[in-house]
């Protein structure tokens, strides 16, 4: 394979293109000229070891961090994303690895944080927000019941549900999920996987950051591999094996370049 992986939906315009993105912290190139794209209804997995620059790359799209150079295109148009609000306005929602919840306030307040429902007197309409949250949770996690307590008293899975609810409630077109199943038990992980499949069906494009190679193969359409801030390559999931992807992650070698020796090394 010599060129970038071909996408089955070539006629469609990509939802997002990140072109030649560079981010440096001091002298360290956290992200060094990376180009990735995402189509509607597609899951693109971003994989790589710790410090590969996946999260930093994605933060340039979610508005948490500005890129030093490079271009971001949403729906074919070049956009500037200076802060999370800009990203939200473009339909980009993010579920952070840390979940980014305010522990001291309840689930509806977290779901609507920054985008509160207001009454006609411009006061907070907590009842309406609670109602909407209950509807939403009925869909995402029907066993979720704790709408009036601070989220600090919820379990890991419930907190994850709140973070997901916040991202999907506002009709996101592009969803970024940073390690969405890292803190979850098996049942909850399966729930998140179901949700990803469902959102995919609805035509939402998802960037999935994951360390779990099984998650990646189970859910994604394409896999972009990063190593030390650089993009090793993007491959179609259907055309590669797990070993080939592992070789990309660890050795930085694209499937054509991998030797049998490399594979043997992988397996120790």
């Amino acid at each position: 394979m010599t060129s970038e992986a071909a996408v089955s939906t070539e006629s469609v315009e990509p939802l997002v293109e990140l072109r030649d993105i560079r981010v440096a912290f001091g002298g360290v190139h956290a992200v060094d000229g990376v180009t990735v794209d995402l189509y509607p209804g597609e899951v693109v997995a971003l994989v790589g070891g710790n410090g590969a620059g996946k999260t930093t790359l994605i933060k340039t799209l979610s508005g948490a961090h500005k890129a030093d150079s490079g271009q971001i295109l949403v729906g074919g148009k070049a956009v500037t994303i200076n802060n999370p609000r800009d990203a939200q306005d473009l339909g980009v929602e993010t579920i952070y690895q840390t979940l980014a919840l305010a522990d001291n306030i309840n689930a509806p307040s977290n779901i609507f944080l920054g985008r509160e429902v207001r009454t006609r007197w411009h006061t907070l309409d907590d009842t309406a927000m609670e109602h909407a949250s209950r509807q939403l949770m009925g869909r995402l996690n029907p066993r979720f019941r704790n709408f009036t307590v601070p989220v600090s008293s919820l379990s890991g899975g419930q907190r994850q549900s709140v973070a997901i609810a916040r991202a999907v409630h506002f009709n996101a077109r592009i969803l970024i999920m940073d390690e969405p199943t890292a803190a979850l038990g098996p049942a909850e992980t399966e729930q998140v996987r179901d949700l990803i499949r469902q959102l995919k069906k609805e035509g939402i494009g998802i960037f999935l950051i994951s360390h779990d190679i099984h998650d990646v193969f189970d859910l994604s359409d394409r896999i972009s591999v990063m190593l030390q801030g650089k993009l090793v390559g993007t491959v179609n999931k259907s055309e590669v094996t797990m070993d080939e992807v592992l070789a990309m992650i660890i050795a930085g070698k694209r499937p054509g370049e991998v030797t049998d020796q490399d594979i043997r090394n992988l397996h120790g």
Partner: protein, 438 residues
């Protein structure tokens, strides 16, 4: 799907709610157990002083005075809660009180009269407005350094504590400015600065109507969305207890009559013959207390009913999450300090009016009493947790202790020792309670 969520709405919250235990009862009424604990603490303090002082503590006269003495720190404590909730602190409020008080003193006693003469009807209003603007500007200035330059609030306001005290002295070279404008003086209470007995009753009636209206509106809103309603007995209990408390307070306040001299004057002005045994005309709620109540209501509204308040708590809970939610966290911090400055200005007006003088020594140690009130009232210095009513109650607890000790003749150093110990014990109890919760 809608079916599933509807059942969820009806069946939830039944779990984990035991109605039998006292804690369960409180939870059914959706009352904050810590606030309830503070009310009990306050009751204990009052009863102990009542016994110790041979029945002079719980008299209308003493309680009326207590309410006035609580006002200044109470007003500032409502703002300090929000400052602390955002994980900041404001050590400069005492000195700010001095500088704003001094400014308002000079404005009404020296600067404005040069142009308009003394005792103009609007002098007090111009003075108060200008003071509030000055307070907001100082608050915004300090808040900007904290939020945009990233200097810790402790350092910025510690600097402010020194700077503003110095500026207050320098404004009038250490002179005492007196007297204040006659209308302005009314802000400080005193025997003329009250709303009178009739208005006190009208206000109490309005408060009762307000409590009932809030309860009914709450039920109506929850019914609209088919949420589980709070049991009706809980709402009725809250309504009855709330209204009773309001009416008893009004009755106690109205049991404190005008001093004889003033009553005689009042009789003359109204063409009543002053009777032999004296006239029993109630003074009514003092203006500073009225101001405190209004400030408390407005601040509670800000803290719980508008986005700004929600953001303050979100920032305190997780600053990064707030930022990632698209909240302008820095601007929110600046606004919190501005609000603190405005409240300091209001407190300064009450204080100078009450003393009928402005000096550069005004508000010394007020920052510590204000922080103490907020903390006794359940505000967590780690940020994210605190309530306006709690802080006001905290101010009342601290003031009750001090007034009570003065009443029974405790020496000043011992007073400080007691207040200091109570502060630490209150916080220790609170962290024990919170640990048990987890």
């Amino acid at each position: 799907m809608s079916d599933a969520s509807a059942t969820a709405e009806r069946t939830d919250e039944g779990e984990g709610r035991q109605r039998k235990s006292p804690a369960g009862l409180l939870r059914s009424m959706e009352l904050d157990p810590r606030l309830f604990g503070m009310l009990i603490a306050l009751a204990v303090i009052w009863i102990v002083f009542q016994v110790w002082s041979d029945g002079t503590f719980l008299t209308p006269r003493n309680l009326w005075n207590l309410s006035v003495q609580t006002a200044v720190v109470g007003i500032m404590a409502t703002g300090m809660v929000l400052v602390i909730v955002t994980r900041n602190i404001d050590l400069s409020v005492g000195s700010m009180l001095a500088v704003v008080g001094m400014f308002m003193g000079l404005l009404q006693a020296e600067w404005l009269p040069q142009w308009f003469g003394f005792d103009q009807p609007y002098t007090w209003l111009i003075t108060l407005a200008a003071g509030i603007v000055l307070g907001a500007v100082i608050g915004a200035f300090q808040g900007s350094i904290i939020a945009y330059l990233g200097v810790p609030a402790f350092i910025v306001t510690l600097g402010g504590l020194l700077v503003w005290r110095g500026v207050a002295w320098w404004l009038a070279s250490g002179r005492t400015i007196a007297p204040m404008d006659t209308n302005f003086q009314l802000l400080g209470g005193g025997s003329r600065g009250t709303i009178g007995g009739t208005w006190t009753w009208i206000l109490a009636g309005a408060a009762c109507v307000g409590i009932v209206a809030l309860l009914i509106n709450g039920r109506r809103r929850r019914r609209k969305f088919e949420f589980t309603l709070r049991p009706i007995w809980a709402d009725v209990t809250i309504g009855v207890v709330g209204c009773t408390a309001v009416i008893v307070s009004a009755w106690v306040i109205n049991s404190y009559p005008m001093p004889p001299g003033l009553a005689r004057k009042y009789a003359e002005e109204n063409g009543i013959v002053y009777p032999e045994g004296g006239l029993d005309i109630p003074l009514g709620l003092a203006n500073p207390v009225l101001i405190l109540i209004v400030v408390g209501l407005v601040m509670t509204f800000i803290a719980t009913r508008v986005s700004f308040g929600r953001y303050i708590f979100a920032i305190g809970g997780n600053p990064e999450a707030a930022e990632l939610s698209g909240i302008k966290t820095r601007w929110t911090i600046v606004r919190v300090f501005m609000l603190m400055g405005i409240l300091v200005a209001i407190a300064a007006a009450v204080q100078t009016a009450r003393l009928n003088a402005a000096t550069s020594g005004l508000g010394q140690l007020a920052e510590l009493y204000t922080i103490a009130a907020a903390v006794i009232g359940g505000t967590s210095l780690a940020g994210g947790i605190g309530t306006i009513p709690g802080a006001m109650l905290g101010a009342l607890v601290a003031q009750s202790l001090q007034s009570g000790m003065v009443l029974i003749g405790v020496d000043a150093p011992v007073q400080d020792i007691v207040v200091g110990i109570v502060l630490v014990v209150a916080v220790a109890l609170d962290s024990l309670y919170r640990r048990r919760l987890k």
